[in-house]
Amino acid sequence: MFSNIPFFKKNNDNKNVSHSTEDKYKGHLYERLQEDYRIKEGLKACMNCGVCTAVCPAAEFYKYNPKNIVNIVQRKDEDELEQLLKSDTIWYCGECMSCVTRCPRANAPGLVIMALRKLSMQTGYYMESEKGRQQYVLVKDLCSNILNHGYCVYPRNFGYEEHKEYGTVGKWINENLDDVHQRMGSNLDGDGPGGLRKIPQESLDQLKKIFDITGATELMNKVINDAHLQAKKENLSDEDYFKKVYTTNNSSKHLNNG
């Protein structure tokens, strides 16, 4: 999606990160979920009315039913939970949080999904689904943008070839990026305040320390290492594996009308 970022090259052979599904989680999935504040906030007492599913943009197109997911969590069945964490299902949500507004019991199925996704990544179960494996692309691109530039989106890394919907105007913008941003009054890669300014190194260093202390670096290294090992297994370079994950779409498996 975005250009190659040197920052990650050094992490690819990190042998200290476990790839395999970690046994410490087996049989304790519900217990681990309860540690997540999004579960504490997002799941009080679901009465299975299904309003979340009715309003859900993902449920209209994907084989996705947030009510059923909340049911599985409420049942506390470890085998069912394990299957859920290994499935594509939890990755269909767009986190628009439309479900939150409509739930008559003030639950937040969208937050439950976020907690499930985190646990799926921690356990390594996410590597067993096509949509779960996409976390490699997201983690690699978004975290590198944050750590290298201080932004989630950085226009020099937003390539037209990977975003053709950016249109003929987007292509023109990218071909004239500095001139267009100068015309618009941006401070692209400049010093001082302003749009798209270069974030001072001191601030980038602080973001890196925040990542290290709060668990983002550990998660990032795990996901990148998991992908590296999977690429090896498939006889692919990391770059080719990245492209495969970014573009693979077995839509008949995912879509309601598939």
Binding site: L142, G167, W172, D179
Partner: protein, 356 residues
């Protein structure tokens, strides 16, 4: 209708917004794709309204897109936010205003979660100290930048050069408003009008002479869905949701879409281009699309800013039909020029949707 009852209900959806002195933080998406909007916002607030909006060079992303793409833990996102609050505190400000709806949702979620779980706030305080040697104070007031424009919408109307009115017929323009999911779907009390009667954009449209369209999929998501757009394989989700909205609004023949969130105008603009090129269908008249603008761009148009200073040339859907309807004067030849008229070439004309 019992008016007092209605007023009582409506009172729950109002916010008191401080008049002045804000610590301003930018949006990753808005500054990348609609940079003229942030420039215009600061020009309106500072120079047209005479307000104090301060920006620190040291502020960064809030991490919201990574958080909602499940790429960083909640604690990481909260500590980045705590660092932003520390910068506000160090700069001597108490009112915090952000330029992004995803950020607004993340800030609100963070403050609400800390309120409910003080031990988590204490943990984040420690994380911030350990990582940055900083201490934060929570904002006395948290606003989204559109809240400010809403608050001063009548003052902007007083300074306006144009109205959201068809200059030839005198009829109000028909406007679709799209407030963006994370403005008030998660925490309805934090947005003007809540999730049931969202008024932040309605108030602007009505104050500037337009007429808001009510259509069935008015509250439907634009289709961003974070990972559902950022991963190429998932983009069918994104365009399908946008398509659903356009099919629903089409019979009402909108002249304009006004948006709150920085991502929504990108999707509502670019997916129209893709739908047109894939199917031949356009949602405006005579082969044009429906312009999807940011609220800053709409405010700038009514105040008489040059459309190319606002950045309307960065949209794929042609803006000219709207400018003509409003009677706005513009130089068509200047549309794609750089500073001092530098020739930057022109974008290629798509096959099915008109560019100018």
């Amino acid at each position: 209708m019992i008016v007092e009852g209605k007023q009582k209900i409506w009172a729950d959806y109002q916010k008191d917004i401080p008049d002045d002195h804000y610590f301003y933080v930018r949006s990753c998406i808005r500054q990348s794709f609609f940079p003229g909007s942030e420039v215009t916002f600061l020009d309106i607030t500072r120079n047209k309204l005479g307000k104090d909006f301060y920006e620190s060079a040291y502020h960064t992303t809030c991490g919201g897109i990574a958080y909602h793409s499940d790429s960083i833990p909640q604690e990481t996102a909260m500590t980045i936010i705590a660092r932003q609050f520390a910068l506000m505190h160090e700069s001597g400000y108490e009112n915090y205003v952000c330029s992004c709806i995803t950020s607004f949702g993340c800030y609100t979620e963070t403050l609400e979660t800390w309120h409910e779980f003080p031990e988590l706030e204490a943990k984040i305080r420690q994380y911030l100290w350990d990582s940055c040697k900083k201490e934060f104070a929570k904002p006395k007031y948290l606003a989204h930048a559109s809240d400010i424009i809403y608050k001063f919408r009548h003052e902007i109307a007083r300074q306006a050069k144009y109205k959201l009115i068809n200059a030839k017929t005198g009829e109000p323009l028909k406007v679709v408003e799209h407030i963006g999911c994370h403005y008030s779907k998660m925490f309805p009390s934090k947005g003007f009008g809540g999730a049931e009667y969202p008024h932040v954009l309605v108030g602007m449209v009505e104050a500037w002479g337009g007429e808001v369209i009510d259509y069935p999929e008015r509250r439907q998501c634009c289709g961003f869905g974070f990972r559902q757009y950022l991963i190429q394989a998932n983009r069918g989700y994104s365009i399908s949701n946008t398509h659903k909205k356009f099919e629903s609004m089409e019979p009402y023949e909108p002249d304009l879409i006004i948006t709150n969130c920085p991502g929504c105008p990108y999707f509502l603009d670019r997916w129209q281009y893709v739908i047109a090129e894939q199917t031949g269908k356009t949602y405006g008249k005579n082969g044009y699309g429906i312009p999807a603008l940011t609220y800053e761009e709409v405010a700038g148009l009514v105040m008489g800013y040059n459309p190319w200073d606002l950045g309307l040339q960065m949209h794929q859907v042609a803006i000219e039909p709207l400018l003509d309807k409003m009677g706005i004067e513009y130089d068509p030849k200047a549309k794609y020029k750089g500073i001092n008229g530098k020739d930057l070439g022109t974008p290629i004309n798509p096959i099915n949707i008109k560019l100018q």
